[in-house]
Symmetry: C2
Subunit: 401 residues, 2 copies
């Protein structure tokens, strides 16, 4: 059977995630890996999850185990509306809110809602790999706008938009991870957010704001979301997930946006998976209702702050002076830059021989071929692994400088 004549163009455009393939290779227990983006499993609130599952299956078993509505279970949506008001000063109604099967589905759904093959979208350069995958599958022409230590440069964004306009093209959306970005760990300051938002408005396009790490802030002042800064003008769609603040295994996230857009997303989701698991939605609703979430986030923030501090302190101790890295105020990652002549992909092979792993930065760039960065995750490894792993990494770098 020759399947090639049957496959769609989507198959041709889709490629396996370099990271997910890498993670399989480096799963050896003797390798210390800073490559993944996994939360620390020892911080999972296992006992609480067990309790809330019992609660849900005792009090609302038939709702939990039946099909749900595509829009999401009301019990969860009500808690989310309360949470957004309380923690973000964002006011949304049930019609602005859609529950999804975690952020990746939100990215895929957004690509499907806005992108036809060849359509332009703009992302920071570098940006989150899973977003690039989803946009590529839809056939997007992904245009990178350069970033500095404070995220996407407004001047770079405006140049890209002006170039598109000169070509008679439009930008379907601007994709941003404004808080502790994956991969760089940088945060866009509020003044820059306002600048970016105004540019989006000027060019009649929308901002897709992806904020999986936002609640994991170790220090510094919380910057308002693009959604809040837009003040209900309908220029922003924002995606949140419980993967980093509760557990990834629930595959649960939510989107807020203009009612009209959310209605379109609901129709797309009907055909994509009918609904997200009601039992996991109700469990999460109970986790929120009982006040456990914010307490759990406090625990996470404390634990991850210690790990970030340890990673930065160790980097200062062991790395040659030519190496630089970002100082994220939150999240799970930092971004390390090697001297220009070095290639992180090549270095990774040597690193794995020395039993340490990371992700080379090159795959995070939508178009550029920048070879001398790497992403380091600090949430997953133990303290001992962080110090030992970074020693191995520094050794590898020195051997290959």
């Amino acid at each position: 059977m020759d399947y090639k004549r049957l496959y769609s163009k989507v198959v041709g455009r889709s490629k396996a995630s370099a990271i997910r393939e890498l993670l399989k290779i480096i799963a050896r227990p003797d390798i210390i890996s800073f490559a993944g983006g996994l939360p620390a499993p020892d911080l999972f609130p296992t006992h609480e999850v067990s309790e809330i599952m019992q609660h849900v299956l005792t009090h609302t078993p038939q709702e939990a185990l039946q099909y749900g509505t595509t829009e999401g279970q009301s019990a969860l949506k009500k808690e989310l509306i309360r949470l957004l008001k309380e923690t973000e000063n964002i006011t949304v109604s049930m019609e602005n809110l859609l529950v999804v099967s975690a952020s990746q589905q939100a990215l895929d759904m957004s690509a499907r809602a806005f992108v036809d093959a060849g359509d332009a979208v703009i992302t920071a350069s570098p940006t989150y790999l899973g977003a690039l995958q989803a946009f590529q599958a839809a056939g997007a022409d992904i245009i990178g706008a350069d970033s500095d230590g404070q995220g996407m440069l407004p001047s770079a964004l405006e140049s890209r938009l002006a170039e598109l306009k000169a070509q008679g093209r439009i930008c379907k959306f601007i994709y941003l991870v404004p808080d502790f970005q994956n991969p760089t760990g940088t945060t866009i300051p509020e003044e820059r957010r306002i600048e970016i938002l105004n540019i989006a408005k000027k060019y009649n396009t929308i901002i897709l704001e992806d904020s999986p790490y936002r609640q994991v802030r170790f220090e510094g002042k919380t910057q308002r979301t693009f959604y809040a800064l837009d003040e209900g003008n309908g220029n922003v769609i924002t995606m949140f997930t419980f993967s980093k603040v509760l557990v990834p295994g629930f595959r649960l996230g939510y989107i807020i946006g203009p009612e009209e857009v959310i209605r379109k997303y609901v129709i797309l989701k009907q055909a994509m998976d009918l609904c997200t698991s009601p039992i996991l939605q109700l469990a999460t609703a109970e986790y929120l209702r009982s006040g456990r979430l914010l307490k759990h986030i406090d625990r996470l923030v404390q634990a991850y702050r210690v790990k970030r501090d340890l990673m930065i302190k160790t980097l200062e101790e062991v790395m040659p002076k030519e190496i630089t890295w970002t100082h994220p105020e939150g999240g799970l990652f930092l971004w390390l830059t090697l001297p220009k002549h070095m290639d992180a992909t090549e270095l990774l092979k040597k690193a794995v021989e020395n039993k340490v792993a990371f992700v080379a930065g090159v795959d995070f760039y939508p178009a550029l071929n920048v070879k001398n960065d790497m992403r380091l995750n600090f949430s997953y490894s133990s303290h001992e692994q962080i110090t030992e792993g970074l020693k191995r990494l520094a050794q590898t770098i020195k051997e290959n400088m």
Copy 2:
């Protein structure tokens, strides 16, 4: 903000499911509804689900709550391989098997893997509405092949394929629900399956076999799956789900197919939702491992058989002689045909006034405008609701004949 200039063609092609919209309208408690396709919630194994959740969270909490692999958790896949061997005499390896977020995701993934806008696919006429939605979103040209009481007519299929060939076009896949089809309740006999399979081979296309109800057989001999009949020749991709045999709330299904195709599906799923919830996969694995699933299916079969019998007996008692209906050997639905001059969509308005509801058949036809059928679900309603609801329906029909 004018979103229309930003939306993709997918949005233009997607429409809200008539059934899901209808279900919202008829959710009034005084209406007896045969419209949905819901399993009976009083048969959910709530206590067992609670037990296995505790088991999973006690024994494998970190695997349950962490990200999973895109392919699916090994523990579940091993149980599925055993189940397929034991109950279907189908031999598959881990590489032939992909866990998905229930059947609708499998349909969406299949449409994305094979369909570019304008591509032809063939389905039975009528066929499952959720499949039509997923194929439409991908822009498929959905061609219906006529059916009789034993499912799709091989002669009709061959005519459609020959017509496409004469136009220089190919058929990307043939979609079939061979067992107790939604909406008609009909089952394709094994000889006919072989005929259809041979026609597919002759025209170099594949069969997409969707079998959500297969295990819910009340009587008669089990017909081998297309997958088994194909004997590993790679012409069949088969989709199963736990929605009808365990609980829909887990949103869990699985696909078996040629290794090469499954590999493509895995890459698509990476961009769609990364992975299906590990906690629900591990719970289902334990449900299978402990031998609970087959016992539970026995209970379902017995309960639904009584309901089907009651529905058919009541129809015989209350319906005018001009009305006919199918006699499904399993599943959740039967198909009722009104006299040719009647319009089931019009009748539904009167039925709702009389506090009974169903789904008009017209939306299940990919192209034809057949107005005088309706789908009746017998799994969800209680015995009292079945007898009383059918009396109301017969009364409505008599008033409008």
